[in-house]
Amino acid sequence: MNAINRNEQTAIARAVLEIDVNNHAGVMSHVVGLFSRRAYNVEGILCLPLAGGEQSRIWLLVNEDNRLPQMLKQVEKLEDVMAVRRHGGDHPIFSGLESYFR
């Protein structure tokens, strides 16, 4: 959490990204690598295969940042990314997991 305390964390505007990808080794590296090379922290990651197992869905929780629109374009360019959808930080996907992080 670096120097940011929990109260400050909750005050930062968040975004939730829903990314449909091909399901094979290395795809997660491609996606999160775009964030890490910009020193853009990913706060939460959730990934499971979709029915059939050919594709997966990655959910990312990230801080709102003026670099986010460019990041989304870069993610969309990845060959293994099928679709990217952006949601507000209040999307229930991560809040439903809070009981596992106490």
């Binding site: 080794a25 290395g26 590296s29 629109p69 969309e76 360019k77 060959e79």
Partner: protein, 556 residues
């Protein structure tokens, strides 16, 4: 009819089917099955580089000269890591490259096996896409797809990592896939095109800003037509040089850090900037907030991620730039714009680019002028990276798209010699000149052996100032003249080195008549190093200090 083939034979056959006739590489344990198969090919000429980075740049040179995919091969571990710089260079300049590397057998991946490195992981951020192949069957889709990806949309490098056991795995092949080809992008948005045309028609002081994408798209002629029809003074990035002949009346040459003074000043006055296949690189724009401060912006690029990345466009068009220019041409009215063209010509007269000492053969600008006078536009011009690169960019009369090979985005010293070898291999009918410096040439000096072995028609002009010129220049200008690690205390005898490595060499500094010696060396077929000492105190001017606005040029 079905055949039984190993993964290695399959790979070579797929390369043949892609139309590959020359590729470059360096063998090693983990890629030996492919080399064994390649040795049996009757159509592919393998150019043995003397370092994998050289192989990567030779492949790049072929790609840059022709627009077709260049192919390079390397083994696992150090072979792959040595390729990385050439791959990263291709990424930043959008060069179509397919790099094939051997990998340790699948069962040994992750065990720190001999010559094992995570090639896939290392190349994620420097390729357009990469593959770790897990079966011989997969090669039938991966290899054509690698070519398709390298060529389609914004071109770029693709890496295919093939474990040794996959290379040796034998499979039955009945049907061959179609070779991978460029896939056309979605058509340009017609409404945006007409909006852009209306903006051009309404503009008082428009400028056309061409980038490397114009060269990649084969759109140079359309760009010149558009400029002529609407009287658009035209600036070019380092990567676009040659797209419009520099002596075209509408050409303002190169913009940016070492652009012509009149070019940067004209950008300050324009009211509309039409960016075509350009990406607003920091060396081109200087301080972005002060770049074309009065201008509305039309941005056309095949990569949607480039639109609004640095500068927000008033009209952004994600499209093939040739198609977009063809769409614009009929909608843009003929306009001679006498007021604006006169103003630009006045800037040219009042703030010219200076070419000091141009009349002396043994000076930086003198050497460039003499080479240009001795050759025609059919010659290709490569450079390494440093002062010599900027001087050639400023002074050489480039007049043809793909005439110019230079490492723009990554700025890789060591690029010049192997890239020029690649260009000469791809187009043996041309004379290829490589301008280089005493710093750059040493970074891939071993490729002189390759040049000699292949007997390529390559003339290397070595401007030797015994100095890392651009470092020396920045230390002089911005670090209180504290020169450190930028002056070579010991230099090799480059003429002896070249001869020792197997190519002819001429020392203009020792020649009785340097002018005649240079002409003779340029006319003689085959590779030749042409050495000349130049003055270490010469600077690349003008220079926009890093982070400053383009109008604030030193030495303008």
């Amino acid at each position: 009819m079905s055949e039984t083939l190993t993964g290695a034979q399959l790979t070579v056959r797929l390369l043949e089917r892609q139309g590959i006739r020359t590729l470059s590489g360096y063998p090693g344990g983990a890629i030996l099955p492919i080399y064994d198969a390649l040795g049996q090919s009757t159509v592919i000429h393998h150019v043995l580089a003397r370092h994998e980075q050289g192989a990567g740049f030779i492949a790049q040179g072929m790609a840059r000269a022709t627009g077709q995919v260049g192919v390079c091969l390397a083994s696992s571990g150090p072979g792959a890591t040595n390729l990385l710089t050439a791959i990263a260079d291709a990424k930043l300049d959008s060069i179509p490259l397919v790099a094939i590397t051997g990998q340790v057998p699948k069962a040994m991946i992750g065990t720190d096996a001999f010559q094992e490195v995570d090639t896939y992981g290392l190349t994620i951020p420097i390729t357009k896409h990469n593959f770790l192949v897990s079966s011989a069957e997969e090669l039938l889709t991966v290899i054509p797809r690698a070519f398709q990806l390298a060529l389609s949309g914004r071109p770029g490098p693709v890496l295919v990592d093939i474990p040794k056991d996959v290379q040796m795995q034998a499979i039955e092949v009945t049907d061959w896939p179609a070779p991978g080809k460029r896939v056309a992008p979605p058509p340009a948005d017609a409404r945006a095109i007409s909006e852009a045309a209306a903006m051009i028609n309404a503009a008082k002081r428009p400028l056309l800003y061409l980038g490397g994408g114009v060269v990649h798209a084969g759109a140079a002629q359309s760009a010149v037509e558009l400029a002529e029809k609407a009287s658009l003074p035209t600036v070019m990035t380092l990567m676009a040089l040659g797209a419009m002949p520099v002596d075209h009346p509408l050409s303002l040459g190169m913009l940016g850090m070492h652009g012509a003074p009149y070019c940067n000043l004209a950008l300050d006055e324009c009211d509309l900037l039409i960016a075509v296949g350009a990406r607003f690189d920091d060396r081109a724009t200087g301080k972005v907030a002060a770049f074309c401060p009065q201008a509305r912006i039309i941005h056309i690029d095949i990569d949607p991620a480039e639109l609004d990345k640095i500068k927000t466009a008033h009209v952004g068009i994600a499209a093939d730039v040739e198609e977009a220019l063809q769409g614009l041409l009929p909608l843009v009215s003929e306009n001679s714009r006498p007021g604006w063209v006169d103003r630009v010509n006045q800037l040219k007269r009042q703030h010219p680019q200076q070419f000091p000492d141009q009349e002396q053969t043994l000076s930086h600008f003198g050497l460039i002028r003499e080479v240009a006078e001795a050759l025609d536009d059919q010659a290709s011009i490569a450079t390494d990276v440093g002062q010599h690169q900027m001087w050639v960019a400023q002074a050489y009369p480039l007049r043809r798209a793909r005439q110019w090979l230079t490492s723009g985005g990554l700025g890789t010293m060591g690029f010049g010699v192997p890239a020029a070898i690649g260009a000469a291999l791809a187009e043996p009918q041309r004379t290829v000149v490589c301008f280089t410096g005493d710093g750059s040439i040493l970074m891939n000096i071993q490729e002189l052996v390759t040049a000699g072995e292949e007997q390529v028609n390559l003339k290397i002009i070595l401007m030797n100032n015994a100095t890392l010129g651009l470092v020396h220049q920045q230390q002089t200008l911005f670090y209180g003249e504290r020169l450190f690690a930028s002056q070579f205390k010991t230099l090799p005898d480059f003429v002896k080195v070249a001869e020792g490595l197997g190519i002819a060499a001429v020392d203009l500094t020792q020649a009785e008549n340097p002018h005649r010696a240079l002409r003779e060396a340029l006319q003689r077929p085959g590779p030749c190093l042409i050495h000349a000492r130049i003055d270490a105190e010469q600077k690349v001017y003008p220079m926009v200090p890093p982070g400053a606005a383009n109008r604030d040029m030193i030495g303008a």
